[in-house]
């Protein structure tokens, strides 16, 4: 508190300018995929002692809810409970392939890292994830390329059936209207219950059957799946 007052008075006197612990961020996120949507984004500044997720660790129930159904409400509340600050759903809905959301302002306060998550749709439990990016103390513009992770909480059966609640198999929807139906399901007895780099969806070219309701010509991706630009003021 005392330090803040001192620096404020120094700044007011116009003697020097420097950035304090708190940072004012202006963030943009671009969906780099060919044909996948991002569900509402959660952009969070929080303390580096906490992680929203970590590769090689089990996903929390809050992450599971986001990754399987795109619901960020619990995750948002969790960040608030640890004195983090968030921008929830800055794109006001889905972020289409190729689209960007810009001018997302975030006053980080004392929080030192930035995390960003959103479900990749249509998938079973894929999400775009930035884990504890250290917020630079130096003003400038920083670009980060972000990968897609598999939450490890649901089998990748690639069946579009409306299943978006945690623990319910299946994919909620293909927002582009480009999904198939009546798939028999991708059966793969793999069990990796940890957050891991997503192996990518399989898809097929049969809109009324086949193993997958996804279209292999539309819904595949390779990392990175998102570009994040952070302006530290």
């Amino acid at each position: 508190m005392k330090r803040t007052l001192v620096s404020a008075s120094v700044l007011a006197a116009g003697l020097i300018s420097f950035s304090n612990v708190a940072a004012e961020l202006e963030i943009s996120v671009t969906n780099l995929t060919h044909g996948n949507h991002f569900t509402p984004l959660l952009i969070a500044a929080h303390d580096s002692a906490n992680h929203l997720f970590q590769v090689g660790q089990m996903a929390s129930p809050e992450i599971q809810k986001m990754a399987e159904g795109g619901d960020i409400a619990d995750l948002d509340a969790l960040v608030s409970s640890i004195n983090g600050v968030t921008s929830a759903n800055p794109a006001m809905g889905l972020l289409n392939a190729g689209a960007s959301v810009s001018n997302v302002m975030l006053d980080t306060g004392d929080n030192d890292v930035l995390s960003i998550v959103a479900m990749v749709l249509p998938t079973n439990d894929a999400f775009v994830g930035l884990d504890n990016w250290v917020i630079p103390t130096e003003a400038g513009t920083y670009t980060i390329y972000v990968n897609a992770y598999d939450a490890g909480t649901e089998a990748n059966d690639e069946i579009i059936n409306g299943g978006g609640m945690s623990g319910v198999p299946g994919i909620p929807a293909a927002p582009g209207g480009d999904g198939g139906e009546n798939a028999t399901g991708v059966m793969d007895n793999a069990t990796n219950s940890y957050v891991h780099v997503h192996p990518g969806v399989l898809g097929d070219t049969d809109p009324v059957g086949g193993a997958s309701d996804l279209d292999s010509r539309i819904h595949r991706w390779l990392n990175p799946v998102a570009k994040v630009v952070v302006m530290v003021k």
Binding site: G56, N147, D188, N192, V197, P199, G200, A211, S216
Partner: protein, 242 residues
């Protein structure tokens, strides 16, 4: 090498000092002190902890191979043919030929495979005079000849407690056709053959195009969709502990 040069130089200076002292004074009980001065300097060690995490969906990693070596050495080069040592690692997870390379200053091998989602930390203590570059290699075992690793990372700029985190992509050794066929891959998806000296692929190291799987039109493949992978496949954190 550097260390040896330095200690020889010290020895020369010590000898010169000794000669001056001897000629300058009668030889009585000064001698033991001169002998003490001549003792070799203590060996200073640097210790590095290397943590490897398997980020893949369903590709166990063969026991990790880590080596330190001179800055002018590389275990492999993209675009060039793989050495037999890299071929053995990439086709069969066998690091014994890599370990046997005499010019490596230190080597360490992992205690076993690293399963998806798991990590292993290995420690190297290196004579300070040998600290230069580090390399690491491991096979993705449910493939014909895919491997990932660190190729010649500079350790000399790391201070105590510094750490470096990197995520790494997958290479194809180019030494074995990516048939994905029964009997051709050593991992649990197949339990087939590891190293085979026949080179029936492009014979240069390249970024791996990914596996196809039986679901995606490769009828003979024994792999399933979860064996497919995207980059990065492993993460490596190097911390200088001492």
């Amino acid at each position: 090498m550097k260390f040896m040069t330095l200690s020889n130089k010290n020895k020369l200076i010590a000898l010169a000092t000794c000669a001056v002292l001897i000629s300058g004074c009668s030889d009585d009980d000064d001698d033991p002190m001169i002998v003490q001065e001549d003792a070799p300097a203590p060996v200073v060690m640097q210790t590095f902890d290397v943590t490897v995490t398997n980020l893949s969906a369903n590709q166990p990693l063969s026991p990790v191979f880590i080596a330190t070596h001179g800055a002018d050495q590389s275990l492999w080069m993209a675009g060039a043919p793989a050495s037999v040592a890299i071929e053995k690692l990439a086709e069969g997870g066998d690091s014994s030929d890599l370990t046997a390379i005499s010019s490596l200053t230190h080597t360490v091998n992992g205690n076993g495979p690293i399963m998806p989602g798991m990590s292993e930390t290995l420690t190297l203590s290196i004579n300070e005079a040998d600290v230069a570059s580090i390399s690491l290699a491991t096979m993705l075992v449910n493939t014909n000849d895919a491997f990932a690793g660190v190729n010649n990372y500079d350790l000399t700029t790391m201070a105590v407690d510094d750490s470096s985190m990197m995520t790494l992509w997958v290479y194809d050794a180019g030494t074995e056709a990516n048939s994905e066929a029964k009997g051709s891959m050593p991992g649990p998806a197949d339990g087939g053959e590891g190293y085979n000296s026949v080179r029936d692929d492009v014979d240069f190291i390249h970024v791996h195009p990914g596996v196809i799987s039986m679901y995606d039109g490769l009828a003979d493949s024994v792999l399933t969709p979860s064996h497919r992978f995207d980059n990065p496949a492993i993460s490596v954190k190097i911390t200088r502990a001492q």
